[in-house]
Symmetry: C2
Subunit: 218 residues, 2 copies
């Protein structure tokens, strides 16, 4: 997880507030541009211009484009996890899951399904190209799924979810439905497939509730 080993030969480096601000500005611009254009289609000059910096600053903070992309993977992963933690760490009921679903759908509907999930799009673009980025993304997905499965475990402990439910598998299925939903929504410019996919996954989870609320399942 640490990334200090990339330090220059002259290992001792002072770091100023201004430097940190510049680095953040670069990452923020890269995040924005690469989300809408894709990683490979975004040039360093685009980023330089959008971040109001210069070439030397890019290469002062990042060894090369690949390092910038890897830093972006972690940056974006941290953003997503932070957002998701806020929405999932108190998850204790099925209706909480529904609220979580609605928030994701609503956010994605703001741009008609375009751009998809920031992590998912990077995953498909980078997985076969940069092993380090792939494994970093994989870790982020795992952490995201764990936020979900932790909530399901809490529901299990409180008796809401049956003991024979497998929270890890349920979380994986939900994540796959979410990512697949993002993808189909992006391709069709229509969020309906995303809703259908998420509802399928939620219905599957509901079938493991201790007291099947709502519609009978047979």
């Amino acid at each position: 997880m640490s990334d200090e080993q990339v330090a220059a030969p002259t290992n001792r480096r002072r770091i100023s507030q201004r430097g940190i601000a510049t680095r953040d500005r670069i990452l923020e611009a890269a995040n924005r541009l690469m989300l809408v254009r894709g990683v490979n289609a975004t040039t360093l000059d685009d980023i330089r211009e959008a971040s109001q910096t210069s070439k030397s600053q890019l290469y002062h903070h990042f060894a090369d484009k690949q390092e910038l992309v890897r830093a972006l993977v972690k940056y974006r992963g941290a953003l997503v996890l932070q957002r998701e933690r806020a929405g999932l760490e108190r998850l204790r009921s099925f209706s909480g899951l529904v609220r979580w679903r609605n928030a994701l759908v609503q956010a994605n509907s703001l741009n008609n399904g375009k751009y998809g999930c920031g992590l998912g799009s990077m995953a498909l673009e980078l997985s076969d190209q940069d092993e380090q980025a792939r494994s970093s993304l994989s870790e982020t997905f795992a952490a995201w799924e764990k936020l979900i499965s932790d909530g399901l475990h809490r529901m299990q402990d409180s008796g809401l979810l049956r003991q024979d439910a497998d929270p890890e598998k349920l979380a994986t299925g939900l994540m796959a439905a979410l990512q697949g939903g993002y993808l189909l929504a992006n391709a069709s410019h229509n969020i309906a497939p995303m809703e259908v996919a998420l509802d399928m996954a939620l219905e599957h989870i509901r079938s493991f509730l201790a007291q099947p609320s709502g519609e009978p399942t047979r």
Copy 2:
């Protein structure tokens, strides 16, 4: 669907067997290379070399790289639909769906989940970049889902599937689980998430079977 309107100003064009063969060779090479490297990361020189052709032939058969990519989208879409038609057009039972699932998982396990679905990876890479490619991909996904929903309709007509099941939504959910499964499998280099996702979708479909107990094998 016709693509003859791209003909040159001198509209009448003779076409020889050799020309067709060259065009196919180019598409085949592009298909192969762009699957593993991604569309944007594959250069025309890569394709030229892999297809044993020359620059002039590339530009003789395709106006530019974008046109080549668009042709590839249709080419790959036709391949997938052909393959899927073979596996789905006779679908009449739940066990047929299971066999279909197993075939996809097995195919993907051959490369440890790498590369994902040829359509899905293009979808995320091109949807925000080339409107024409996006809509073409969207049509292919719709046709693919229809192959599934047609099978589910047959199951419904024969009384296997309950009348209150919605074959279109079930097909969409299954497709999302498949695509999300591909994505997670690709990111983790592990096909387990794909299996879990597909099993969730199949379980969801099974919950709509007329006789909900164990799977009937016919």
